[in-house]
Amino acid sequence: MILAATMGMSNPGEDAVARFRSGDRAALGAILPVYQFRLYRFLLRMVREPATAEDLFQQTWVRVMEKISSYDTRHRFDAWLFSVARNLAIDHLRRKPGFSLDAAEEDGQAPIDRLEGSGADPLEQVLEFERGTILAAAMEELPAIHREVLTLRFEEDMKLDEIAIVAGIPLSTVKSRLHRATDGLRRLVEARLR
């Protein structure tokens, strides 16, 4: 199903990717600009530090050059590219002392329970002025695996089955992470507005 969902879809720079895969190293020059912004943004959302994001951005392309022969053309190139970047970002985050991918998670209360009785949502107030800024700031406090699913779904506009490929996890896990991520974000926004 995942394969079917990602097969036969056209991508920007597809010709360049095909040329690059067949050994034309110069084709990378045409691929890089196509994915520059999206890849950098994704990495920045993941690691939150511009210098680290840039380093990982460069490492991603080095890895792409090394591993391009293993890219399965039945899948979308961007999903494969983001999975390469994602793995590098996760490796980087794991090396941080005391870091946990799903830290700042769980207070023992079920998400649905927290939704119950929330009353008027402070987000409505947020929307009146700097909704996006506060959301971005709140998102930075989420665990990495939740930032990942939110940015891939809402900024990269990836479908859940594509996110499953990028993150290398089952679709059911992606759904549950999306649920938890949205809930966690909401709690953080509420905390900021109190």
């Binding site: 520059q36 460069q58 929307l127 809402f154 649920h179 949205t182 909401r186």
Partner: protein, 146 residues
Amino acid sequence: MIPHEDVRKMLALAAAGELSAEEKRIVQQHAAGCDGCRRELEILGMYARGLAAMPQPVVPEGLLERSRLRVAEAGWAAAEQRSRDLVLALVVVLSWFGWAGLWMVVRVFTGGAVSAFGISTLLVWTTAGVAVVLLGKRDVLARRLS
């Protein structure tokens, strides 16, 4: 009839536009008669729209050029490593051929009196040692230059 709690679990997916047509119909039908779920759906929809409209980062100036350079450097390093591996493989192959040839010559002149094992050991280790020293010196020089 889908239980209320099950519908609530579908709301985040509904806000993300990730429900099938049938699931969407179920949620909409439920929300039409449930104030809590309708309200929740509206709120989650606002979050979804807000996430898609977050401030966008600025790509650092020169990122492309620096990336191209790094990729090129990595390519050169990989090519150099391959050529080094090739040289080492050639050294090994040549040393074994050299050993075999020398052994045959020595046998002819000594009638088998000189140990083939001693000669081969000496030849192989000498060749390998020279190769390692040369490659090591080259690496040190490359590091100094970089």
